[in-house]
Symmetry: C2
Subunit: 471 residues, 2 copies
């Protein structure tokens, strides 16, 4: 099965009565223009554009609730749109319907610095949040490559480079406001740091990609900006040497804040794109957070471990501007990769394995890459056992897409055989549905289907994603 | 409504065919004796004994699956029993039925020291786990007062004294094996450290108290035993001074491993029970984990902060045996309290509030306590905003129970008004059901009910707990 090419959009009927009602209520904030629809039917995946029938720009949870109630009454698909940066076809309107673009819900609702929490509307992006709260001395660590919306990051259970120290969205959402399929408004939890008061509704919606409810607000955990921060890069002769260093660092419990892998191609890409002069060999990027003494202690230990694995050119980036440049380059790796092959489209793998299997998984993958016909880069949140192969594909070549899909299936099967997952942080969307039964068993998928049918009995919420409606 | 006294057990009919089938299959591991039934119908709450009709002692997930399939076919309640240490009537057989006692499922299935994970059967207790893995250099930090079973700890989303640093069961379960209502066996996730592959089935079952499925195995996160450990106690003139110290410590992001409050009565109780000579005034107990330098740095900072709040007699317990005695005393606080009033039964509150409101919450509670007629002690996982008032009640006095229930309602309402929760770690069971709508709203409870009905359509799994079947 070729998930990219076999997929056909099958729009459902959208009654004029619904469109009229939305138009009447939202006026200029309702659009059926081709440009707006196409913009909202396209993400960063290689899938073709699949536009919705209409786009609404709500400004409050109550407005989202009103749209949901209307869509539910008319049995019309309802899809949430954040920053549009997802990678797996997560929000494409394969059955048409109505998109709610949450970008106008961009208010920081409440900062509670004393409790280390902030409440935001879903459309606030991660970078803006950190700019707005900088003066509190706190920060929000989760950082996927793109400047994603925080609602979208909740919906895909995003993570990024800091997850090795601070966890993913799973660990950093205190509560959510969610609009259910029928328009009812659910607040998933109180603002206490822990609770055992019944089912964990927060975690039910985190990672549900808009298929169980639409997240309109989130309360997130914040952390004190570390007293001291230090960053470093270290080059290795082989990817294997780099990965074995990381495994040892994690097993020793060194509380590194970031530890990122780039293969030689990735370094070449970021050198080109971000005008860095890094040595073009496999490389680890580190960041350490803590007290000055604690950072020094961590860094010395890490330097020792990398030296044992042949690490060379351990170079510090202690000045804030050097650190910023380094991490901006890492965050831009995805876009840098695209520049290696002008006009290409990227497809990215996202497996994550237990750390003890990471060297094997990357090693077998590297061997496999010797046989593929398109350029690739490898970047990875290796402290979590997660890495990406970004495949740079000719958008006009069916053969390359098919080769990429076959490669992706092999890497997923390899990761699953190592008790890993098909997706560490990008979500399922359309592209990973083919692996759900293999990963979760028929029994696990059956439970997911029961959840979907219970919370969205008319199958209006981002239909056709995560699990198929019918067994 | 008086939750303790108004409650009537309403047994369902248990067909002889089911009992015969279980007896035939399990032989000596099936019992209907009064003693065994009563033992399994009683927890540490003040509720009267509510025995099941029969108890089975399975030894494998497949055996639990067989029991579930039978109970489901006969529409008979099925309840999991771990160590029997729950506090809220969590497993009492209010509708009779079959209990599966998981204590024979006590095998450590696999230790993966390189991945910092362990897989255990549900009946393994937390203390035994730590004894068995000690030589790996790793430990499992979650420590409720009792030596609970790890399956039970998953089921109630337990925490304890280390949660301020290591999180609760929510953060420390990698995956679960769960027997669903129809007997199907679900593995909730792979062993990778993170995943965004669909709905978070692990967190769905963590905290579900046996009402959505029966947890038979769990893979848990382990941590390297800290290189250095240091513990200390510090006395204060008032509870308020102690709490304000804690708030400042948390807000500064000091990574304390433990910070526990005892009021003067609690210190008196542990002095009596554990033969300690602690000064009988409000007290904080600390533990610090890290490198020798890191521990020293944390301890100095904490000592400064407590001094600013009038902390006195800051005393170190650096020798392992002194530390063990101190923490054993803290863990025995519950049983120590019982000794303050021989023959009493305890009822414990469990609110948890945002840390900024903790001083207010404890202050108002202390003022309220001046008017109650029974003895109490206060202990608290104050770094999380969580504390317990243990009320020592005359088991023959309806008046005292009613007074205790009224006090509990007041403290819960106070915590909810502060955006806190009715239960930080004990779970809902029977006793907190009365607060679920107030805490989660009708919409939140409706979602929980939808989940229950979807995953347990015949209402056989620990029926009558967490949310009522009918709206």
């Amino acid at each position: 099965m070729n998930a990219i090419h076999d997929l056909q959009a099958v729009p459902r009927d959208v009654p004029a009565a619904l469109l009229d009602a939305l138009s009447a209520r939202f006026g200029e904030r309702f659009s059926q223009s081709v440009a707006v629809r196409e913009h909202h039917g396209k993400d960063e995946s290689p899938y073709a554009t699949m536009p919705p029938d209409a786009v609404v720009f709500p400004e409050s949870t109550e407005e989202v609730s009103a749209v949901a109630a209307l869509c539910n009454a008319h049995r019309v698909p309802l899809i949430a749109y954040g920053a549009g940066s997802s990678l797996e076809g997560n929000f494409l309107a394969i059955h048409g319907g109505v998109v709610v673009d949450l970008s106008r819900m961009d208010r920081i609702v409440a900062v509670h610095p004393d409790d280390l929490t902030v409440t935001v509307q879903a459309g606030v992006t991660r970078k803006r949040l950190n700019e707005e709260i900088r003066d509190t001395g706190l920060f929000f660590p989760i950082d996927p490559g793109a400047d994603a919306s925080l609602g979208g990051m909740c919906a895909t259970r995003a993570s990024g480079t800091n997850a090795v120290r601070y966890g993913t969205m799973r660990e950093n959402v205190v509560n959510l406001t969610v609009v259910a399929a029928d328009g009812s408004i659910v607040r998933t939890a109180r603002r206490a740091r822990k609770s055992s008061a019944g089912y964990d509704l927060t975690r039910l919606y985190v990672g549900s990609e808009g298929t169980l409810g639409i997240i309109t607000e989130a309360t997130l955990r914040l952390y004190p900006q570390p007293e001291a921060v230090s960053a470093a890069v270290c080059a290795f002769a082989t990817v294997d040497d780099a990965v074995r260093s990381v495994i040892q660092i994690i097993q020793l419990g060194v509380p590194v804040a970031r530890v990122e892998l780039m293969d030689a191609n990735a370094v070449k890409a970021v050198n080109l794109y971000s005008k860095l002069g890094l040595r073009e060999s496999p490389m680890l990027l580190f960041e350490f957070h803590g007290s000055p003494a604690g950072v020094k202690e961590q860094a010395e230990l890490v330097q020792e471990i990398t030296a044992e694995h042949g690490g060379q050119d351990f170079a510090w980036a202690d000045k804030p501007e050097d650190r910023s440049r380094l991490w901006a380059a890492r965050h831009n790796a995805y876009f840098s990769g695209l520049q290696l092959r002008p006009g290409c489209k990227a497809s990215s793998t996202d497996v994550c394995v237990p750390i003890s299997r990471l060297a094997d998984c990357i090693g077998e993958t590297t061997a496999d890459l010797a046989h593929v016909s398109f350029p690739t880069i490898i970047v990875g949140h290796v402290g979590d056992g997660n890495f990406h192969v970004q495949m740079l594909l000719d958008p006009d070549s069916v053969a390359e897409y098919e080769e990429a899909e076959a490669f992706n299936r092999r890497i997923v099967e390899r990761a699953l055989a190592m008790d890993g997952t098909c997706t560490g942080e990008h979500g399922v969307g359309l592209h990973k549905m083919q692996f759900m039964a293999q990963e979760h068993g028929d029994e696990g998928v059956a439970v997911m289907r029961q959840l979907k049918r219970a919370l969205d009995p008319n199958n209006i919420l981002n239909p056709g994603k995560i699990v198929a409606w019918d067994a």
